[in-house]
Symmetry: none
Subunit: 85 residues, 2 copies
DNA sequence: TACCATTTGTCCGTATGTATG
DNA sequence: CCATACATACGGACAAATGGT
């Protein structure tokens, strides 16, 4: 069975949507579900998977960059960086 | 006289650009100016004719698809469907 | 075979306006 | 006032499919 991660999102709670989605993606990176040097879900895919606006998806990816987890290449996508461990 | 449809577009009004352009193209379909099984203007042609961004042209065509007026074939174009009437 | 132009598909980046809490 | 979230609109870059040379 495939896990879409939808159930971890709480739209009523105090945590911003983009932080919740970033946490969910970070978890998938940490477990290896999203492998190093492979792309994470695109903005539009995040929009569909989590039912969020594109601006929210962009904030999610920006936060993941600030956390040092991913690098973005214009016109290609956002990729998982090698883990520092 | 030739009608370019440009003058019907209102960039200040409340109606989104892509809806206005879709309405204009739908009118051309309804009058037979764009015949059945023939292509409508390509995305790039809509960009030039209406002076809009390509993303706006894509939303226009997507809306026409949702209205059931056209079908799109990758690498070929978007074509007028047979009228249901 | 290879190449090329056209067209649609898919990405990212940016900006503005509106609405809500 | 400010942060969050969504919708609209613009721009650029690259990929895939098609059809022709």
């Amino acid at each position: 069975m495939r896990w879409d991660g939808l159930h971890v999102i709480d739209r009523e709670g105090p945590t911003p949507l983009y932080v919740q989605v970033a946490d969910a993606v970070e978890a998938r990176i940490k477990t290896g579900d999203l492998p190093v040097d492979r792309p994470i879900p695109s903005e539009n895919q995040l929009v569909q998977e989590y039912e969020i606006a594109r601006g929210t998806a962009r904030k999610t990816i920006q936060l993941l960059r600030e956390r040092g987890l991913v690098v973005t290449i214009v016109g290609r996508g956002t990729f998982v960086r090698p883990h520092p461990d």
